[in-house]
């Protein structure tokens, strides 16, 4: 079936299989490999992309259901001017190690910051519980997000 959607600000029309996952569509058809496959069950958050500004697990989301929507992947976020601040602060706090969870983490953080609801560190922890990181022990990420959200 044919779908039309916007990916990172570009209008795209493509044939997809009805059962094709958004993650596979992005990685295999569009060569956007920043979204990662890991748990396949919407637990780890490594495949997170933004759909109309909201984070979704692309491993459990049909490509066909993204028709008519705006999809943002890490490649798109990295082109935006506000990315520089994310990059600088995540780098300064060493809020990444292997980097496999990092794109999904950043997209979730981006959506949360836009929402403006990160008012405490407890709130940050709760809101990011759907993005796992196995390397950092989370503290560096917590500090980076707290600085981004101007939370003490």
């Amino acid at each position: 079936m044919e779908i039309a959607l916007s990916v990172n600000g570009r209008e795209i029309v493509r044939d997809v299989e009805p059962q094709e996952l958004l993650l596979d569509f992005l990685r295999d058809s569009l060569a956007l490999t920043g979204a990662k496959r890991s748990c396949d069950v919407q637990v780890c958050g490594a495949c997170t992309v933004l759909l109309d500004g909201l984070p979704v697990s692309s491993c459990c989301f049909l490509a066909a259901d993204a028709a008519g929507s705006e999809v943002t992947t890490i490649e798109g976020l990295a082109e935006r001017p506000e990315f520089e601040r994310l990059e600088e602060i995540f780098t300064r706090h060493a809020a990444l190690q292997c980097g496999f969870c990092t794109p999904g983490m950043l997209l979730t953080v981006k959506a949360l910051l836009e929402d403006g609801e990160l008012e405490s560190k407890e709130e940050i922890k709760r809101s990011l519980a759907g993005n796992l990181c196995r390397c950092t022990g989370y503290r560096g990420i917590l500090e980076a997000v707290a600085e981004l959200a101007a939370v003490e």
């Binding site: 920043g34 780098t91 060493a94 990444l96 196995r134 022990g137 989370y138 560096g140």
Partner: protein, 749 residues
């Protein structure tokens, strides 16, 4: 040109938290992992895995599967008749794919190569395999019982890197045994006033590197190329060369960024099967595990242990006796080394009059177990340290004081014939105790614990590196260390910059590629900064020496660098090549080792809810006793990551089996720590006594906390009134224990 050249005597790059060199590409999603690579003409591989734990393969019918459009070939054991298809770096016991028998739930029975992942998956569904079930050896205690069925028959054959001395004849399902016997054990126990004794069990857990095992293999006339999620490319190269009868120079292993490892990608995993499938297909093939498949590719050994500790009435430790059975699953993998390391960790770093360790590596019909961060120490430290705390309780002494009195001091023997202690353990434990408020008044239901241990680290000390100073003043470091998040590219850039006298961001360190990067034994055992880092330091110092020879002086101004290069080569090209090598001082054998003792020291403060059994972590602290921190921020991240894994291991992680079948093979049923599991306070104390064998007195870190933190939590929970002898400390288990204690009248709060 901003290159500056500095005196090597004044260290300016070491001990600085330089930003990670890979941050930009990782944050932007540009960092390439094996699953992101495309190789021309690449096929997709899928694996049919055994649905039973033990059985004879009666038949495999691939006829329907072969007719599915897009299927190129299907590999089974019958395709390997021209090979000696068994591998295993310790014991050659594992077939590339099941031959005649399956020995665990999830073993590879057939593999399909197809044009698309969907066609491969459909073909796997269409293969009909019939099995005749055999009795399942489901636990280590079953495995060592009289008359237990054998998981593997025939004599054990040593692998290429077994390092275990002479292999004794096979003894039932025990594939390796490590024993230490020191002093008159029974006599000392007979005169001891305090004897603590217990039986303990330790669960299998999954390392969960978020990037699952992924391999692309291409077999050509002149070369076998493997892009692999592997931590030890040079050891994998040797095993592939051995299996497929080609010289090592004809095998190329390429390792891009790794999405975590923690030991799960150590040694050979999915590489032989992928190469065999690509060989049959005549085209490159990629196999990418799903999580459920990685869970049966490797895991941590579960263990059954009996331990007793003897002490005087005032808490002087006298003797320890340890017997443990390690469940290595159907194939040895790294089991023998895990067991030897556990044996070394078992006594704990104390001054004993006598001790005995008897550790066995046992085959069962579970999936193979291998390396996981801090193996051996993680298995034994929580047990030994809980007995030290029990000694303290019975002696009416402060657990910290008991450790001060009994811990080994630098230079004392840790293990007969091995490296003496090279760390200040008393200083380390005092620091972490202070960080969790040791001695402060405790509210009810709050407990504090410390733990101390040692981990034999460094593996076999062989590494080499090359530094190339280019005509524009930039430096390329070639080294075989793999980047799995721990940050060697950043640390090595700092070391090379320091030695040559350039800025770290003018140094490029890329991934391992055995065709170009010189030999490095492995990335694991906390060895990279210490051993590969020393090779990098020597290679960079070699470049510096060449520069000084050209200049005729050790005083080189930054502005002179390019002029010196030009003078030497007579034009704006050429490069100075420096070589660095690390080889063992003695034989490098395990018995003479280790390269250094990694310190496993931690403390915890917990609060237990007696109504639910839930354990809340108020404070944790770990000591990163690293000799010299090349990059303090990276050191902290390593310890913090290990702390969170330790919290998961202590409180909730467990692979659940029933008759050899793994029941919780998804992240929905197997929970790992999330942001919400962060302790209220987490401290990493960096200790720098310059007592390591690495560059500038550095020694490795990042594993010790995974042994120390669960042990400290167990001790803190016992301090709050709930002694436990089984991990993980799930709310249910803790609640049930509290009910038992109430019945026995021992619940005091």
């Amino acid at each position: 040109m901003t290159t500056t050249v500095r005196e090597t005597a004044t260290r300016t790059q070491i001990g600085r938290s330089q930003p990670r060199r890979d941050a930009r590409e990782k944050l932007r999603g540009e960092a390439e992992f094996v699953g992101d690579l495309l190789v021309p003409r690449m096929l997709h591989g899928k694996v049919l895995r055994s649905p039973i734990a033990h059985g004879r393969i009666v038949s495999i019918d691939t006829s329907a599967a072969e007719k599915i459009p897009g299927v190129v070939c299907i590999l089974t054991g019958a395709d390997l008749r021209d090979l000696d298809p068994y591998y295993g770096h310790a014991i050659k016991d594992r077939p590339i794919i099941a031959i005649d028998k399956v020995r665990f739930h999830g073993e590879q029975v057939a593999a399909v190569a197809a044009e698309t992942p969907a066609a491969a998956a459909a073909a796997v569904e269409a293969i009909v395999a019939e099995y005749e079930e055999l009795p399942v050896v489901a636990t280590v205690t079953d495995a060592v019982a009289d008359g237990a069925p054998l998981v593997n028959e025939g004599d054990a054959r040593p692998g290429l890197f077994h390092g275990l001395g002479e292999l004794p004849p096979r003894d039932g399902n025990v594939c390796y045994r490590y024993r230490i016997d020191r002093g008159e054990l029974e006599a000392v126990f007979a005169r001891a006033e305090i004897v603590v004794e217990g039986v303990y069990s330790f669960p299998a857990v999954y390392q969960y590197a978020m990037e699952t095992h992924t391999v692309i293999a291409q077999v050509e006339v002149e070369e076998i190329t493997v892009w692999a999620t592997c931590q030890h490319p040079f050891l994998v190269r040797a095993e592939i060369a051995d299996l497929f009868h080609v010289p090592v120079a004809s095998v190329r292993i390429v390792v891009p960024y790794l999405g975590g490892g923690f030991g799960s990608k150590s040694y050979t995993k999915m590489e032989p099967l992928t190469v065999a499938l690509a060989r049959k297909a005549g085209r490159p093939v990629r196999i990418q595990n799903r999580v459920a498949e990685s869970m049966v590719t490797t895991r941590r050994h579960n263990m059954h242990c009996r331990m007793r500790t003897a002490a005087t009435a005032d808490g002087r430790l006298l003797a320890r006796d340890v017997e443990c059975l390690f469940d290595t699953g159907a194939y040895a993998d790294n089991g023998p080394r895990v067991v030897a390391t556990a044996g070394d960790a078992a006594p704990g770093p104390y001054r004993w009059a006598a001790y005995r360790v008897d550790a066995s590596c046992v085959y069962t019909n579970l999936a193979p177990a291998g390396s996981y961060r801090a193996f051996g120490a993680a298995h034994l430290q929580w047990i030994g340290e809980s007995q030290v705390d029990e000694v303290a309780r019975r002696a009416g002494a402060d657990p910290l004081e008991v450790r001060r009195q009994n811990l080994l001091t630098p230079g004392e023997e840790v293990r007969p014939g091995g490296k003496p202690l090279d760390a200040d353990l008393v200083g380390d434990v005092e620091k972490v105790a202070a960080a969790v408020g040791w001695g402060e008044e405790k509210p009810p239901l709050v407990g504090r614990g410390v733990s101390v241990g040692l981990l034999a680290a460094g593996a076999h000390p062989v590494s080499s590196a090359v530094c190339r100073l280019e005509a524009d003043g930039r430096v390329i470091v070639l080294v075989g260390t793999t980047e799995l998040g721990q940050g060697p590219r950043t640390a090595f850039a700092q070391i090379a910059a320091e030695e040559i006298g350039v800025e770290p961001d003018h140094v490029t360190v890329r991934g391992a590629d055995t065709r170009f990067t010189p030999y490095d034994r492995s990335t694991g055992a906390s060895r990279s900064t210490t051993i590969a880092g020393l090779a990098v330091q020597r290679a960079a110092a070699d470049v510096r020496a060449q520069l000084e020879a050209i200049a005729g002086t050790t005083e080189i101004e930054s502005s002179e660098l390019l002029g010196l290069m030009r003078k030497h080569f007579g034009f704006a090209g050429g490069e100075l090549i420096g070589r660095g090598e690390v080889a063992p001082l003695g034989t490098g054998s395990y018995a003479e080792g280790p390269v250094f003792w990694e310190v496993c020291v931690g403390a915890a403060e917990i609060e237990v809810d007696p109504e639910t059994g839930f354990v809340h972590l108020r404070r944790t602290a770990t000591a990163a006793d690293v000799g010299r921190a090349i990059n303090p921020q990276l050191v902290e991240r390593q310890d913090e990551g290990a702390t969170l894994q330790g919290i998961g291991n202590a409180l909730f992680e467990e692979m659940v089996y029933e008759d050899g079948l793994l029941l919780n093979d998804t992240l929905l049923d197997y929970r790992v720590p999330s942001f919400e599991d962060l302790p209220d306070e987490m401290t990493c104390v960096i200790v720098e006594n310059a007592d390591g064998p690495g560059p500038y007195g550095a020694k490795g870190c990042g594993e010790g906390a995974l042994a120390a933190v669960p042990a400290a939590i167990v001790n803190a929970l016992a301090d709050a009134g709930v002694p436990m002898s089984e991990l993980p400390l799930t709310p249910e288990r803790v609640w049930r224990r509290i009910q038992e204690l109430k019945k026995e009248g021992k619940w005091v709060q």
